[in-house]
């Protein structure tokens, strides 16, 4: 079977090393605020030209999966309100950490991610060849329909504003038309400049929007003061108690069942999956556990984290079989394939089966590596979280400049990088999502080609675009997805408001610390009772550095050691909603 051949390739020591490097880099950038997997793949693209395709694709796959793991560590341990899209996930994990249960939250996230990632990769291995076999039969008209779906879901559904998403998408499509037209070799929008004759490089735009735009935007409103990481306590072998396992395994499986299909259809990727999983876990919880939601329920970490990783694998199905990316990271992976002249699409499983199965096999390997590495290495991730922000963003700028320069080895590209970076800055400032622009830029040329081919076949009759049965079905599904998404967005904001209210009540009454209000109750199974809550459970404790030698943080985890020092605080009972204020009071 071809998957076994894939394993034979992926298990070669050299490729194992590449996979390891990929997952390590991926986790590190996932942990770091301000850097995501999409940006990392974009940055590394020009720098990996010397690698052969298989090695490069394995590195990028490792980054893709690693980034998913790293993000959960940040939201659990960092004492700041994260991005609003992940707020439901971050909420429970963050509250668990503040109640001294950070280790359990990290463990359920890691194990859940592993289980979900593995099951979803198995599903990917079985589903993808069938989808590819089906996809071979569809023509340009159906492709146009699928790409319209991808454009609209990425552009209109993922942000808070439909119009801003569409504007971002249109800007990306506009840049995509610059340069030579691939069918007639006519110059379009080059304004007589030789630098624009080949268009603006996708990598340049992606690096500018993701990296430079982000650095400038953060710099404009940089949060000053120490970086507050919630210390992890308790030995890592005792990270999950029996009860935690009992409460986690069902959410893991449910999260996988929700995440994979949602990732497969172009419905918004991981964010939607995590939200659906969180909502269903909250609904299924009973009695005391239901009350725990919003205060650190382990189910609320286990389910969404599993859904997140399962969706990440699901996203690869349309990417590998149809060549249609539904997230920004998947779009960057598509660019990586294009750079290596590997045509992604229905033919991929036939023409480059060795490569695609090596990629899938490396996903299994990477998942296992992530599980083995993540729990023991949490101390390193905590250290990475504490990199001084001026150095972090200065480093991002240097890497961005390096990536831009390496595209064509001309300093002009660095200037274009800066101009597009300033555009990215204003887009963030005014609430325009940048991902649709990148997806539009990457899919734009493919879309135009398929559109023109469809119309050439129909001799210019646009009705042909909707009259094919498959295309018609796709458009109907698109309408259904849209209606569902508006309903879901309403639910999501209602849920977020509700959860935030819970938290505010919790703080208002002054007694509702995570511990007192029945967060992980029951007998304290591990012998370290007392020390963990002492580190973080005091309701009136002001935000202040943990002194070295504080008994709470000293309980020999590798993580606890590095969580020490003047940069850490014990979280106390501050809710996510009020932590912004607390930060300002810090030294």
């Amino acid at each position: 079977m071809s998957l076994l051949e894939g394993f034979a390739v992926a298990a070669q020591p050299m490729y194992l090393l590449f996979a390891l490097g990929g997952v390590l880099v991926g986790t590190a950038v996932g942990v770091l605020p301000g850097i995501g997997p999409a940006m990392t793949v974009a940055l590394l693209m020009p720098l990996t030209y010397s690698l052969e395709p298989t090695a490069a694709i394995i590195v990028f796959a490792g980054i893709y999966y690693g980034g998913m793991y790293g993000g959960s560590t940040t939201s659990i341990l960092l004492n700041t309100p994260g991005e609003s899209s992940s707020i439901v996930t971050a909420l429970e994990g963050n509250r668990m950490a503040k109640a001294g249960r950070g280790a359990a939250a990290l463990a359920t996230a890691a194990v859940g991610s592993f289980i979900a990632g593995t099951i979803a990769t198995v599903l990917l291995s079985f589903v993808a060849p069938y989808v590819a076999a089906f996809a071979v039969q569809i023509g340009p008209v159906e492709y146009v329909a699928l790409m319209v779906v991808a454009f609209l879901t990425v552009g209109a559904l993922l942000g808070s504003s439909v119009l801003r998403g569409l504007a971002s998408l249109a800007l990306g499509l506009f840049i995509a038309t610059m340069g030579f037209d691939s069918l007639t070799a006519q110059q379009r929008y080059t304004f007589g400049s030789p630098f624009l004759a080949d268009g603006i490089d996708v990598v340049l735009v992606a690096v500018a929007l993701f990296a430079v735009g982000e650095a400038l935007y953060v710099a404009s409103r940089l949060r000053h003061g120490p970086i507050k990481v919630i210390p992890v306590t308790g030995g890592w072998t005792k990270w999950m108690r029996k009860e935690d396992w009992r409460r986690s395994w069902r959410p893991w499986l449910r999260g996988t069942a929700i995440g994979f299909p949602v990732g497969t259809i172009p419905a918004g990727g991981a964010d939607v999956a995590t939200f659906l999983s969180y909502a269903s876990e909250r609904k299924l919880a009973k009695g005391a556990r239901k009350k725990q939601f919003g205060k650190g329920a382990i189910e609320g970490v286990a389910g969404p984290e599993a859904a997140n990783n399962a969706a990440a694998a699901g996203v690869l199905v349309p990417l590998l079989t149809l060549g249609i990316p539904t997230t920004a990271t998947a779009a960057m992976l598509l660019v990586a394939f294009q750079r290596y002249q590997i045509p992604v699409g229905p033919q991929l499983f036939e023409n480059d089966s060795a490569l695609v199965w090596a990629l899938i096999a490396s996903l299994y390997v990477g998942n296992l590596m992530l599980l083995v590495l993540n729990l023991p290495l949490v101390g390193i991730w905590v250290k990475i979280l504490q990199i001084p922000r001026p150095y972090l963003y200065a480093g991002i700028l240097v890497f961005a400049a390096l990536g831009a320069f390496s595209v064509n080895f001309t300093p002009i590209d660095v200037i274009i990088l800066l101009i597009l970076g300033i555009l990215g800055f204003f887009m963030r400032r005014f609430g325009y999502p940048v991902a649709p622009m990148v997806v539009g830029l990457i899919l734009g040329p493919i879309f135009e080609n398929q559109l023109r081919r469809s119309l050439a076949i129909s001799q210019g009759d646009p009705v042909a675009l909707v009259s094919s049965p498959i295309a018609a079905v796709i458009y109907v599904v698109l309408i259904i997805i849209f209606v569902l998404s508006f309903w879901m967005r309403k639910r999501q904001s209602a849920l977020e408001a509700e959860t935030t209210d819970d938290l505010e009540d919790d703080v208002d009454d002054g007694t509702g610390t995570p511990r007192a209000s029945g967060a992980p109750g029951g007998p304290d199974a591990d012998g370290t009772s007392g020390t963990a809550p002492a580190a973080s459970g005091d309701p009136v404790e002001p935000v202040e550095p943990v002194e070295p030698g504080d008994p709470g943080a000293a309980a020999g985890v590798p993580g606890a050691k590095s969580a020490h020092g003047p940069d850490t605080v014990s979280g106390g009972a501050h809710s996510g909603a009020s932590s912004t204020k607390n930060r300002k009071e810090g030294p």
Binding site: V218, A394, L397, L451
Partner: protein
Amino acid sequence: MSTSTSSPTGSGTTAAPGRPIGELIFALIVISVGVVGFVAGASIQTPPSASDIGPKAFPYLVSGMLVLVGTGLVIQLLRGGTGVPEEGEDVDPNIATDWATVGKLAGFVLLHSFLIVPLGWPIAAAVLFFGAAWSLGARPWFRNLITAIVLALVLQFVFAGLLGVSLPAGILEGFGVFSG
């Protein structure tokens, strides 16, 4: 179309004065890109041999989308529907925009682009890192300087020396490990 009005949740998004003006300008830029698309698109040649809709149609479609969406945004802004600035772990929504730092960072990137060829990539990169770290408030300066030099040399070594990316080594040209 009424989505963004309900979005500012919680305390975070206190509207900085003058932001709607900036947003209006941005929306107008979106429209003007579309207009430029129509104007400049008129000069795109359609070869007589073209059997399909030709190279003009898609640019016109995109330009039309830009004008439509931009107009929609202007209307939305005039009705008070402002955008929600992006959130992030390192972003403090309660402080005013620090334009000086943004300007300094942009300036150092520009300076970097002019230094690569005459001085070589490592020096240009060290200048960029040092300047950016200083702009963002890292002190003391000698620690920034040492970090910048070490980072630039490590990157030059890894990417030019090991991976074969042809970064100009500048004054380090003589050392084989640094040249790509």
